[in-house]
């Protein structure tokens, strides 16, 4: 069975480092980048099966990254992460084509379930 490739785009490197390790322990292949521009490059150069994207980053915003990914790869699932207390940003992201959104801090089992759901689509 092909290992699922996940691209993590989040400017908090301690967060992505620990999360990447946890996913790799569960047999996922993970690439991490800490900004939107590198994230867009990674999508082109090393295509993932799913993108996990933080909404609030310096520079290119999560929503802008989402729009650009979906414009070139409409079938690539993008799971949004948001640290805000309200769900408005997540809902806005889904209106722009995100597969789903999750609030930080994450529950690893819920994340795995979302990744598997995305893989099944």
């Amino acid at each position: 069975m092909t290992t699922m490739k996940v691209l993590l785009i989040d400017d908090e490197q301690e967060f992505t480092g620990a999360l990447a390790e946890r996913l790799e322990l569960r047999d996922y292949t993970v690439q991490t980048v800490d900004n939107g521009e590198d994230g867009l490059s990674a999508v082109e150069n090393n295509p993932p099966h799913i993108v996990v994207l933080d909404l609030k980053m310096p520079g290119l915003s999560g929503i802008e990254v989402l729009k650009r990914i979906k414009s070139r790869h409409p079938d690539l699932p993008v799971l949004l992460l948001t640290g805000y207390g309200s769900t408005e940003d997540g809902i806005k992201g889904m209106q722009h084509g995100a597969f789903d959104y999750m609030m930080k801090p994450l529950n690893i089992d819920e994340l795995i379930a979302k990744l598997q759901e995305a893989a099944g689509k």
Partner: protein, 219 residues
């Protein structure tokens, strides 16, 4: 009230405070997310090497559970803090009565504990949405709690009970045991002014303080 084309609260100081607090709450969430993933990774690694760490695994597990509980506390606090921060986003908007009360109460837990008073929110699972002024509504609940605490003593349990009533919402505040006729701090006057600004009423009925708010404020 000054005309406000972008629908935010008209006081720029309030808007500023909201934005600052929102930024702080977002940072808190990111910190908690890092702690959450780091401890989760420790859990995962401990499970892998259980036979090597058998003597210490229980201590690690207990410590990680304690950290997990603190993460949950911090998560709840930042959610409520974010609600507070976004209250000035709209001068008039939808307000979840129960969630707004929980937001106010969460910030008062330490003070209540120090005074050895309890606080109970009855009916916290009901969905009760009104259209009103979010900042003033939050301030009103805070003032009501402050009034109740001023008229309570140790071992009293203050009870807030929101009730749905067609075009209105009633909030019954009970459990305080001291004489309500004194208003040395002017809290009752302040509370009545706040409730009036929300086009509601506030009155003492037997051993209850009853706040009545319309479900739809008139602009």
């Amino acid at each position: 009230m000054t005309a406000n084309t972008d629908n935010r609260h008209p006081d720029p100081h309030v808007v500023f405070l909201g934005r600052v607090v929102a930024s702080y709450s977002h940072e808190i969430r990111n910190i908690l997310a890092i702690i959450n993933e780091s401890t989760g990774l420790m859990h995962d690694l401990l499970n892998l090497k259980k036979e090597e760490l058998s003597g210490h695994a229980q201590r690690f597990t207990k410590t990680l559970e304690d950290i997990g509980q603190q993460i949950q506390r911090g998560q709840d606090l930042s959610t409520f803090l974010n609600t507070l921060a976004h209250a000035p986003d709209k001068e008039v908007g939808g307000v979840d009565i129960v969630h707004t009360m929980q937001t106010v109460f969460a910030l008062s837990n330490r003070l209540l504990k120090n005074k050895k008073m309890g606080l109970c929110l009855e009916g916290k699972d009901i969905k009760l949405q009104v259209t009103t002024r979010p900042v003033e509504c939050m301030h009103c609940f805070f003032c009501a709690l402050e009034w109740a605490m001023t008229h309570s003593q140790a071992d009293d349990e203050i009870v807030f009970q929101p009730l749905d009533s067609e075009q209105e919402v009633h909030i019954n505040v009970s459990g305080w045991s001291l004489d309500p006729s004194t208003d040395a701090n002017g809290l009752m006057t302040r509370l009545q002014d706040l409730v009036a600004a929300l086009q509601g009423t506030c009155a003492l009925q037997d051993k209850k303080l009853v706040i009545t708010l319309p479900k739809q404020i008139e602009s």
